[in-house]
Symmetry: C2
Subunit: 268 residues, 2 copies
């Protein structure tokens, strides 16, 4: 068993502030929690400042493994008590393991896959539910979406619920918060991309083939959809055909169907 | 303005019990909450025992409209206070309008669309997250899935969170809880259906065409997938092709992609 270092109460109080958006934004770092997410963070190229674990976790096989993995990456490991873990935790039942992660500063090119012949970008206009945003990122990761643009009205990308719902995909999909969508969509069109805005029911039914090589798909707020200003930038308004009676599809499901069909239509 | 009747404290205490699964199961009725869900219930062929609204709701245009709609259907309307509404409510902020709904007793044929040349049934093996179950029902409703079978390990269908997540689709899609999946899948196969079990990664990649006329698609628990016993009933194991790095798709998203592609491949 490897013994982690102690951490001061003052340092812990600073970390607990990361449960507030204001401090996450100011400090450009956030907490991730639980074995799976911490492992995903350690396996990624995001910078981990500190790994925190309770004695119970240190004694577990996967706790020890993550400790070793952290040391190999020169990530400091600190011991916290169960009570401290609960204070840092966003969930009711803490797993006793957390990591402090620095927001990755992507090169701007990461959000503009200009060098690729084929690309799919997902743009989000005011997604408000953290679970939806996280699930959209997870779905985009699954289908190898090149980048995700989030306008400022979206729920905060680094909030604990969003991060948890991504199941680690936040560390793989280039996601750009506070994106100014209108000029970005215009530039994308100039560069040969087709802008498709997803609307619940009255758009063109999505086909199973013949998608453009480069596309940006826009999804909107759960209640109000894509704003009128953004809709004006659309080359096409598209909908998933409805056969039954539901008023709308969940936005993450709609994203999965549309992006999935585009990917499948290309023979993957 | 129409004045609703008063309701006794004893009656309210009985209704508050419907926030517990035990009483919902015993009484075969459940509460639905909020304008949208209450409206969906009133528009459906499910039997509404009672509509409850606060004075503030009665004064609103849509409250009055729902009151009138209820009276036309011979549904009794009772007045409750804001405090009583909060006691009955599962949510932090009650909208002040609830309905007591009887579980619809479908004819068994509703779950066996034998008369149809083409059918899609979704079978669920241990879906544990209420939001996922509700979103699956909403997705099945959108795509006109003929029936949904739920094995006993699934989260309870009439729990407030599931009902809310269906966005009203619970009143449209025939959903059978406590289904004994193994014999049902065997019977479906005898009747000419193809059983396809969705697995995260190592099944046959779903095609964009050539689906059987009649199919049952099985989706499994969020962590453990479809159980081994059920997997043995599969004619085929299928997966949504992965291009990126996520370990799995959310089960409601996977359901949307698979059912959506089947529906789209038939020209809808």
């Amino acid at each position: 068993m490897i013994r982690p270092r102690k951490i001061s109460q003052a340092a812990l109080q600073q970390l607990a502030k990361l449960n507030h958006k204001k401090f996450r934004r100011a400090q450009r770092r956030f907490l991730v929690e639980g074995f799976h997410l911490v492992e995903e963070a350690l396996e990624s190229d995001w910078r981990i400042e500190l790994l925190l674990m309770t004695p119970a976790v240190s004694l577990k096989e996967n706790g020890e493994r993550l400790h070793e993995r952290a040391e190999k990456k020169d990530v400091e490991v600190a011991a916290i008590t169960e009570i401290e873990a609960r204070k840092l935790s966003d969930t009711v039942t803490s797993q006793g393991i957390l990591a402090v992660v620095q927001v990755k500063e992507y090169a701007i090119e990461s959000f503009w896959p200009a060098g690729k012949r084929r690309s799919v970008i997902v743009a989000l206009d005011g997604i408000s539910d953290p679970g939806n945003l996280g699930t959209i990122l997870r779905t985009c990761d699954w289908f190898g979406v090149d980048a995700v643009w989030l306008d400022p009205a979206c729920v905060e990308l680094y909030s604990p619920k969003v991060v948890r719902s991504t199941m680690g995909s936040i560390f793989r999909v280039p996601a750009l918060p506070d994106a100014d969508l209108t000029p970005m969509l215009r530039l994308a069109k100039k560069n040969g991309s087709k802008v498709m805005v997803a609307v619940p029911t009255d758009g063109s039914p999505i086909p199973l083939a013949a998608y453009p090589e480069r596309s940006v798909i826009v999804f909107g707020n759960e209640s109000h959809g894509v704003g009128a200003g953004i809709q004006r930038e659309a080359d096409q308004r598209i909908s998933v055909p409805r056969i039954g009676g539901a008023e709308s599809l969940n936005v993450a499901v709609a994203c999965g169907v549309i992006v999935g069909v585009i990917r499948l239509s290309r023979g993957v």
